[in-house]
């Protein structure tokens, strides 16, 4: 196959590109420039977006003897990922920008461009298994990235290659070291790439300005404090509320109402939900018959919980087998069919609309 290897400059995508070359594919390395004014040097735990990261990717491509280009997708990334992130928070929701980037950038803008230019597929260093069109969790449970790929459709997956799904992160680093890649020991990245200092609340404050509002305790109905911006809170959050409840029991964020800017807090019991209603789902393969039983995961590093999925007004009603805290509108509920042998299979996902 003629493939584009998306190379961030990190160890995973370097090894993925190398494995694609070694598998006999005709590989072209592409680094995505996602910010119009990139820093020269890497800072903190971001791992993809500085000029230094681009050079790291180029070094690997040159060693592999493959062509390497930088594709400027800064405009698309700003529109589809960064502005979406800000708008979602402004609307009181909790987005996942990595999932959005996979949906709109890596497996849409990049894949479309690659296919138009005569390539068959895009290779990435995601930790997930993709065999026979079925997307499954990585063998490395701690590094599994199937959640942020759950938004991909069968058509997108048909043109994706994830060479790393069958190996642990440790093994990836070994393979990089064996090949002499300088990035073998490069630290993992785990912050949001476009928030350079890792301060999401500060980033949102700069973008949205101060938007003060009340903090209301659902247990008593009383206004117990003020906040500078509802976007600084996420559902289920416990720390940093800046209020003390009279009964000394811990409080959690229950809800965010963007118009009145009200942040509602409540007790642990009040923060738990047993049912999630979603917007229209996307599926990674054949549409499953409803209702069905499976597992649902609502955060990139959350634990899956058993659930029953039924149809609900264009979306899904997901009844949770265990009560969950911290389920927020805007998050993706990614549905899995458990499979201990071959890895849990990703069925699809849908954005959370409401919870109960």
């Amino acid at each position: 196959m003629r493939v584009v290897a998306a190379m961030s400059g990190g160890v995973d995508s370097a090894v993925a590109a190398a494995l694609a070359v070694e598998a006999g594919h005709d590989v072209t390395g592409v680094h995505l420039a996602l910010s119009p004014d990139r820093q020269q040097l890497r800072s903190g735990s971001r791992g993809c977006c500085s000029v230094e990261d681009s050079h790291d990717a180029r070094r690997v491509a040159d060693e592999l003897g493959i062509p390497f280009y930088v594709w400027d997708l800064a405009d698309r990334f700003r529109e589809d990922v960064v502005e979406d992130f800000v708008a979602e928070y402004a609307a009181g929701r909790t987005p996942n920008p990595c999932l959005r980037c996979n949906e709109k950038i890596k497996f849409s803008a990049v894949l479309d461009r690659a296919r138009a230019l005569g390539f068959d597929a895009v290779v990435t260093g995601h930790h997930a298994r993709l065999v026979g069109g079925e997307l499954r969790r990585s063998v490395d449970a701690a590094k599994d990235q199937s959640y942020v790929l759950g938004v991909l459709t069968a058509e997108q997956l048909a043109h994706a290659v994830f060479p790393l799904g069958e190996m642990t992160k440790e093994r990836v680093r070994e393979l990089a070291a064996e090949r002499g890649f300088a990035v073998a020991t490069k630290p993992d990245s785990h912050d949001i790439c476009f928030i350079s200092d890792g301060d999401t609340r500060g980033f949102l404050t700069r973008r949205l300005g101060e938007q003060p509002g009340p903090v209301v305790d659902a247990a008593t109905g009383a206004t117990v404090g003020r906040h500078a911006g509802a976007y600084g809170f996420t559902i289920g959050q416990r720390r940093g509320l800046g209020v003390t409840a009279g009964d000394q029991r811990p409080r959690f964020v229950l809800g965010i109402e963007p118009v009145s800017r009200t942040v509602t807090i409540g007790t642990a019991e009040q923060a738990e939900v047993s049912e999630v209603v979603t917007a229209a789902p996307t599926w990674t393969g054949p549409v499953p018959g409803l209702p069905f039983r499976g597992q649902v995961q609502v955060r990139a590093h959350g634990a899956p919980v058993p659930c029953e999925v039924t149809a609900a007004d264009g979306g899904l009603r997901i009844t949770l087998g265990e009560r969950q805290r911290g389920v927020a509108p805007g998050q993706s509920a990614v549905l899995y069919a458990p499979d201990a042998l071959r890895g849990d299979r990703v069925l699809g996902q849908a954005a959370v609309s409401t919870t109960a």
Binding site: T28, P67, Y69, V70, L117
Partner: protein, 394 residues
């Protein structure tokens, strides 16, 4: 491999390679007083005389540098600092937005850090600076430290009438620097006849080594150094002379200037066939810069080897990648250090819209170019543009 990026760097001429390689085996610091040093000095000075003779300059006007970027920085900053020091009213720099980044970024640095004010010259659709535009911008010249206008543009090949520009500048007492990196060896360049005060050239655009260049600087022009140290080059530039590179530079310059007329005619004919063929394959492609047969001051108005075209609906970097995959090496003209394609500042300066600027390719021919290179491009350009347009339409 079809190499059509001679404006980026051109293969070394065999005569330069041989001369340089021979010199690399020799020991001797040209500033040393012993026999080895004297021998190195002798070779360096012979090279200085050769280079001066090839370019109509006096040997004492040749300052060896590490290349075009250093020459441009030294001329722009050095003349600005020296002229400003002599008269503090001289804070204006007059230049064009189509200059190479070595000039543009030097000027902008002076604006940000040294109190310079910049007057940008209009370049018009061809990319050329006219004497009238320069005269307008200079005014009475009393507040101008330096003017800088390139001899020939590296992206779209536009040649300016440098002698006329120098006359305009001198009429109001302003020194003129010209970046002649693309011009030397391609156009008749005569330092004395051109009348400019400072002229930048570099080795690797004319068949010499990378990392060796020269600033031709008139003897009566004050220039504050960038590099301080041993004062090897007229106390304007310090650093141990790289004698081998200098030998290669001088040998290349002599050879390139020596066969310039025949080579320019041959390369021009190839270039004209290339452009005509591309326009036949892709009828809505647009030639950027001056017309192929343009004339300025009785000579070519466009660099002989320069073809710069826009392909509406296609992105330059997609075209470059598709051609690269087919063994054809060219350039989108402008790239930042991270390799992110930006719309060419030169095309934007000529008034082109950003879409046209982004859809452009530079194919630059040189001394090793052949008819087979042209044929190779014409064989694939139609399908390549079609495919890039499909990618661009998404």
């Amino acid at each position: 491999m079809t190499y059509l990026d001679h404006a980026a760097t051109t293969p070394m001429l065999p005569v330069a390679l041989a001369a340089m390689t021979e010199q690399l085996a020799q020991v001797g610091n040209a500033s040393s007083l012993h026999a080895s040093g004297r021998q190195a000095r002798r070779v360096a000075e012979q090279s200085r005389e050769q280079l001066a003779a090839a370019l109509g300059a006096r040997p004492s006007e040749v300052l060896f540098t590490a290349g075009g970027t250093e020459g441009d920085n030294l001329a722009v900053k050095g003349l600005y600092w020296a002229r400003r020091a002599a008269d503090d009213r001289r804070r204006r720099i007059v230049t064009s937005p189509a200059e190479h980044h070595a000039v543009l970024d030097s000027v902008e640095w002076l604006e940000t850090h040294a109190g310079a004010e910049v007057t940008w010259l209009p370049v018009g659709p061809t990319g050329r600076v006219t004497p009238e535009a320069l005269a307008d911008a200079l005014g009475d010249g009393r507040d101008v430290a330096v003017a800088s206008v390139m001899w020939a543009n590296n992206e779209i090949g536009a040649v300016s009438d440098v002698a006329a520009l120098a006359a305009v500048a001198h009429a109001v007492g302003v020194p003129l620097h010209t970046d002649a990196v693309q011009a030397v060896g391609q156009l008749p360049v005569d330092f004395a006849a051109g009348g400019v005060d400072a002229l930048t050239l570099t080795g690797h655009k004319l068949g010499g080594p990378v990392g060796a260049g020269a600033l031709l600087l008139r003897r009566d022009v004050e220039c504050t150094p960038l590099l301080h140290g041993g004062g090897q080059e007229r106390d304007v530039r310090s650093g141990t002379l790289d004698v081998a590179a200098i030998v290669g530079l001088a040998a290349a310059a002599r050879a390139a200037v020596g066969d310039r007329v025949e080579r320019a005619a041959r390369v021009t004919a190839l270039r004209d066939r290339l452009v005509a063929g591309v326009l036949a394959e892709v009828p809505d492609a647009q030639l950027n810069g001056p017309a192929l047969d343009d004339v300025v001051a009785g000579g070519p108005g466009r660099l002989p080897g320069n073809a710069h075209l826009s392909f509406p609906g296609a992105e330059g970097d997609a075209l470059l990648m598709l051609l690269d995959a087919r063994g054809i090496e060219c350039s989108t003209g402008s790239a930042c250090s991270a390799g992110v394609a930006r719309p060419s500042h030169v095309l934007l300066a000529t008034g082109a819209d950003p879409a046209r600027a982004r859809s452009s390719l530079r194919l630059s021919l040189g001394h090793t170019s052949t008819g087979a290179d042209v044929d190779a491009v014409l064989a694939v350009i139609g399908p390549v543009v079609e495919r890039a347009r499909r990618a661009g339409a998404r």
